[in-house]
């Protein structure tokens, strides 16, 4: 039965990894606005955004 203990620990490690990711996402503010990204991905044009990025006008936080 000790194999269950090992499996349990492995699943716990995976779960902790997801919890950490979740905490990281919440802290980064990814859950502040869940509506706009949904609209953005329908219309966004990748090449355009890259152009904007190249201009280096983003603030460095």
């Amino acid at each position: 039965m000790s194999v269950i203990v090992i499996l349990m620990l492995a699943s716990l490690v995976v779960a902790i990894a997801f919890l950490t990711l979740f905490i990281w996402a919440v802290r980064r503010g990814q859950y502040e606005d869940v509506e706009t990204p949904a609209m953005r991905m329908l219309t966004d044009d990748d090449s355009d955004r890259r152009k904007a990025d190249e201009k280096g006008l983003q603030p460095h936080e």
């Binding site: 039965m1 000790s2 269950i4 203990v5 349990m8 699943s11 716990l12 779960a15 902790i16 997801f18 919890l19 979740f22 905490i23 919440v26 802290r27 503010g29 859950y31 502040e32 606005d33 509506e35 706009t36 609209m39 953005r40 329908l42 219309t43 966004d44 044009d45 355009d48 904007a52 990025d53 201009k55 006008l57 983003q58 603030p59």
Partner: protein
């Protein structure tokens, strides 16, 4: 025409995809904004306060743009850099309707950015309130983290409790059970210390204030649940109840999260600052300069143009003032002032530019001093006396009594079992289902009301709404349409051809009165354009249409000699006065039916700032019992609400729209602001009602009452479960398995009941 300009601009820059994204995006630069100057935004104190960040080269600013309404708006605004290369990254926050963008300050000024936005139809709302940004709310993020931790622990502990659910005997695999038990305790620790911490602080607060709230029995229940589990696991008696423990906290936090529904783009906290503009034109010698209105001093000469707000109480120095106070005092008719007379802050000038001399600073004016009233000083704290707490109090006493007597009985029968029986009662009686009923019912009611265009500040307003016994209405803008007016013509009848001539003339002017007259007359053929057209601001318009001299305006303007007694715009044709157009406020649709339904249940009151002309009409609808008061100042309204609250039991609901209702909205138990356009200014209130849903007010109130009835029914159901649980626990036979079954059944059935019953109630009251 404005639309075509925008289209050209977008097409030139390859942004015409905007029109493919949405079949009718419908953006059009508003006429009033096109002429407005934004240079004052570049002045240093204002610029610094508006910018979120600047290093001299790169600047970042956040605008609130009420016009954002679709995916195409998001796309266009985020591609703003294509219209001007000095603009960098732009991000839209759709729920809040804000645009946050970075731009290169050496290449483009803040005012130019704003002008660019205005030119494509997205005018940012910049007012005195924009200078003091609201602090971000960290509680939502905090709650999400707590929820995540609790959910994580719940899932994993449940996984480890499976052997127990399957009925495996702990004695078979003692080592494994012990290991899983210890792991469960480890996982439950963050839930106890972090996820449930709001219950500890609330329970501690309730001790200090000697006031029992629902958090107290919950804290008692979860602490009993946790300690008994730890004791049983360590002693090897059972697997403990840690799955129930973390599951309960997870569900309770879900309830909190569900109840936290907010309408991010609406503000329920606005004061006069959100209504007044940022800057005004001050005369300095022969020149004028744009200055922040907060820096206006007594004695300053200021210039107020057509459709601008008067920023401070002042004396009229020169010009013809025709001031629309409808939003400030509730007077429907604009007031004509002569030089030397006082004008009050908040009025909107219509006509030409006027020069004023300020007599009071902005914050001390007749209108804004309302905010110095004590009613605004005390923060609006959520009521402790809510339904859940009242039910919870009775419940707590009962549970503690049962727990002690059970413990006592067991002490006599078999002393070693008595402590366990005592804690068993406490843990099974944890009023979690009780605490879940209100958040889920009221949260769901808030969403349904939102769908019907009544936007509540928070879910507890539903409870307050169900308790009111008096409804106080404002007249102008609440019972009547804010913008629409009935135009009636009296005098010598005009032939159909003559009517089209008047319409052709009136169409040339942007004055609201001309617009309304043009709207009510038959449309003229497009080639019927007046020649020799002239407009004298504040007076009237004249021109020649089809060879006839037409004149439309004030008595003195139309005929200087004739004794015309009434104020409304007169019309003259070839020098003879033909008649006058009278503008009457239009009452909202089906007002009589609505008031008839409301009168059956509520005391009705009208507090109007307007003249008592409308009394006969209102009396007929409101019935003989209603108290109708006119010429009420903002302070009178506040005082009336306070008096009524002292004299009468039951709550007061104020339904108003203007700044003059702000005091009464704040003082009443429930303040509802009615607005034609929810993105426009509305004073601080508990709920914002879209004027399109005004006729449903009786249904909305009835639904709020039903929702509270559902909460009470939910209490009964959850008490039933608790009684069963306590019955089992007091016999001393509560096992982890029973707890693990009872907990989800009671919680989920109460949640399901709440959600289904509110939907049913909404359907029954004819709400969508």
């Amino acid at each position: 025409m404005g639309c075509r300009m925008v289209y050209q601009l977008l097409k030139d820059r390859g942004l015409d995809r905007f029109y493919e994204l949405e079949p009718s995006p419908g953006i059009r630069p508003s006429e009033s904004s096109a002429t407005r100057a934004y240079e004052h935004l570049d002045a240093d104190p204002i610029r610094r306060q508006l910018l979120d960040f600047t290093n001299g080269r790169l600047a970042r600013v956040t605008f609130s743009i009420p016009a954002i309404h679709c995916a195409a708006c998001v796309w266009l605004l985020e591609n703003l850099y294509r219209l001007n290369p000095a603009i960098g990254e732009a991000r839209v926050h759709f729920p809040r309707k804000t645009l946050s963008l970075s731009f290169n300050e050496t290449e483009i000024t803040l005012s130019a950015v704003v002008r660019l936005l205005v030119s494509i139809g997205y005018e940012p709302a910049i007012n005195l309130g924009s200078l003091t940004a609201p602090p971000p709310d960290p509680a939502a993020r905090q709650l999400l983290l707590r929820l995540g931790v609790a959910g994580f622990a719940f899932g994993n502990i449940m996984l480890m409790s499976f052997p127990a659910y399957l009925g495996l005997n702990p004695a078979d695999e003692r080592g494994m059970h012990h290991f899983f038990g210890l792991l469960s305790i480890l996982l439950a620790m963050p839930v106890l210390l972090y996820s449930a911490s709001s219950y500890w602080t609330a329970a501690a607060l309730c001790f200090r204030r000697r006031h029992l709230v629902i958090e107290f029995p919950i804290a008692l229940g979860i602490i009993a649940l946790f300690t008994q589990s730890v004791v049983e696991i360590l002693a090897g008696i059972s697997e403990g109840y840690l799955d129930s423990f973390s599951g309960l906290i997870f569900l309770l936090l879900c309830g909190q999260w569900f109840q936290r529904k907010t309408f991010a783009s609406l503000s329920f906290e606005r004061d006069y600052k959100a209504y007044f503009p940022l800057a005004t034109l001050r005369r300095e010698g022969s020149a004028t300069r744009s200055v922040p209105i907060t820096s206006l001093a007594v004695g300053d000469r200021i210039l107020v143009r057509h459709q601008e707000l008067i920023p401070a109480d002042a004396l009229l120095v020169s010009g013809d003032a025709c001031i629309d106070y409808s939003f400030v005092t509730g007077e429907a008719e604009p007031v004509v002032c002569r030089p030397g007379e006082h004008v009050f802050a908040g009025g909107r000038q219509t006509g030409g530019a006027v020069e004023l001399e300020t007599v009071k600073p902005v914050s001390q004016s007749y209108l804004t001093s309302l905010w110095n009233n004590a009613a605004f000083a005390k923060p609006r704290t959520p009521q402790i006396q809510n339904l859940t707490n009242r039910a919870g109090r009775l419940f707590t006493y009962a549970v503690i009594a049962i727990a002690i007597s059970t413990g006592a009985v067991w002490l006599v029968r078999s002393p070693p079992q008595s402590l366990r029986a005592f804690t068993s009662v406490l843990l099974v009686a944890c009023p979690c289902a009780l605490a879940l009923t209100a958040p889920f019912t009221l949260g769901s009611a808030q969403r349904i009301l939102g769908r019907n265009r009544l936007y509540l500040r928070n879910a507890t307003v539903v409870e307050d709404m169900s308790r009111v016994s008096t409804l106080i209405f404002d007249k102008t803008g609440t019972l009547t349409h804010a913008t629409r007016q009935n135009v009636t013509y009296t005098g010598d009848a005009l032939t159909d051809t003559e009517q089209t001539w008047v319409a052709a003339l009136a169409r040339q002017s942007t004055h609201p009165a001309s617009r309304r007259i043009a709207d009510c007359l038959p449309p003229p053929s497009p080639n019927l354009a007046p020649t020799a057209f002239s407009e004298v601001p504040g007076q009237g318009i004249r021109g020649v249409v089809a060879g006839h001299a037409l004149c439309l305006g004030s008595p003195a303007f139309v005929a200087s000699d004739a004794a015309l007694t009434e104020a409304g715009p007169y019309v003259s044709l070839d020098g003879t006065v033909r008649g006058r157009f009278a503008m009457q406020p239009t009452y909202r649709a089906d007002l009589a039916g609505l008031l008839h339904r409301l009168a059956a249940r509520y005391n009705l009151v009208v507090l109007s700032g307007d003249h008592p002309q409308a009394e006969p009409a209102l009396r007929q609808w409101f019935g003989p019992r209603a108290d109708l008061r006119f010429e009420q100042s903002p302070a009178d309204k506040l005082a009336y609400v306070r008096q009524w609250q002292e004299a009468q039991p039951g709550g007061v609901m104020m339904i108003g729209d203007g700044l003059n209702d702000a005091g009464a909205l704040r003082q009443s138990q429930v303040g509802i602001a009615v607005t034609e356009d929810i993105s426009l200014f509305s004073p601080a209130c508990d709920a914002i009602l879209d004027a399109a849903s005004f006729h449903q007010l009786a249904d909305l109130l009835a639904f709020a009452r039903s929702s509270v009835g559902i909460v009470k029914a939910g209490f009964v159901i959850s008490l039933l479960y608790n009684t069963i649980g306590i019955g089992i626990a007091s016999t001393g036979r509560l096992s982890p398995l029973v707890a693990a079954v009872l907990m989800p059944i009671s919680s989920f059935s109460v949640i399901g009941f709440s959600l289904l019953a509110t939907r049913w109630a909404a359907w029954r009251h004819g709400l969508s």
